[in-house]
Symmetry: C2
Subunit: 108 residues, 2 copies
DNA sequence: CTATTTAATCGCCGACCTACGATAAAGAAG
DNA sequence: CTTCTTTATCGTAGGTCGGCGATTAAATAG
């Protein structure tokens, strides 16, 4: 028996159900992935698991403010998480969200 | 053992190979999917396999020119194909391209 | 040939995106 | 307290996006 309490809005996905996903939410995630820099950031975060923002600034030929904005976009889309750690901020991939996105892509 | 010399463009994807994809191309496809209307069009084309442009205009609350533009974006991204059929144009999903995209997402 | 139908393209507009430098905020270090 | 480090935010400039109506192009119908 499935616990319905823990899933307020996203119906419990039977394996064969290929009924409508939410195009708005799906498109929003795709939009966040719709920039090469953000894709690179995501790949980097997957590789090293977690890192501080400045590290990402170092590997990209972009200003710190620009990188910060891209991180914000990824975070708003729910693809990454950031926790403040002293004066720095530590970012990491939200692997659960990424898995959810993959599931949506697969029913495409 | 992996042959590093050959990698003309789209190597035949060994199951375990999660080396670098092209972030530019991947982002370009995501960008095309980054609008709810285009996601809906893609889902519709998947359902009915092929249809004429006007049919898509009918199911969407948008002007014909707007729909035409969205179709152009999807076509430029390589996700759909369109063939002229008399005065009309018949669109259909490029299932191979979609499968390729899914493969990219899965190595994300 | 002249309509009619169907799509694509053009031009316009407001909104959003992406880059940057400058500035603000907040903790660590002296 | 002051300074340094690290990140987020602001403001701005140029470009792109997304919508529309109007127009053009191409094939069919009469």
């Amino acid at each position: 028996m499935v616990d319905l309490n823990t899933l307020p809005e996203e119906e419990d996905r039977a394996p064969g159900a290929d009924d409508g996903m939410d195009p708005e939410r799906f498109a929003a995630i795709c939009k966040a992935l719709g920039h090469p820099v953000r894709v690179r950031i995501l790949e980097y975060l997957k590789k090293i698991d977690r890192c501080v923002c400045g590290e990402i600034v170092d590997i990209l030929p972009l200003a710190q403010s620009t990188v910060s904005q891209h991180l914000k976009v990824l975070k708003s889309a729910g693809l990454i998480m950031g926790e403040v750690n002293g004066p720095a901020t530590c970012y990491c991939l939200d692997r659960q969200a990424l898995a959810g996105f993959k599931a949506l892509v697969y029913r495409l």
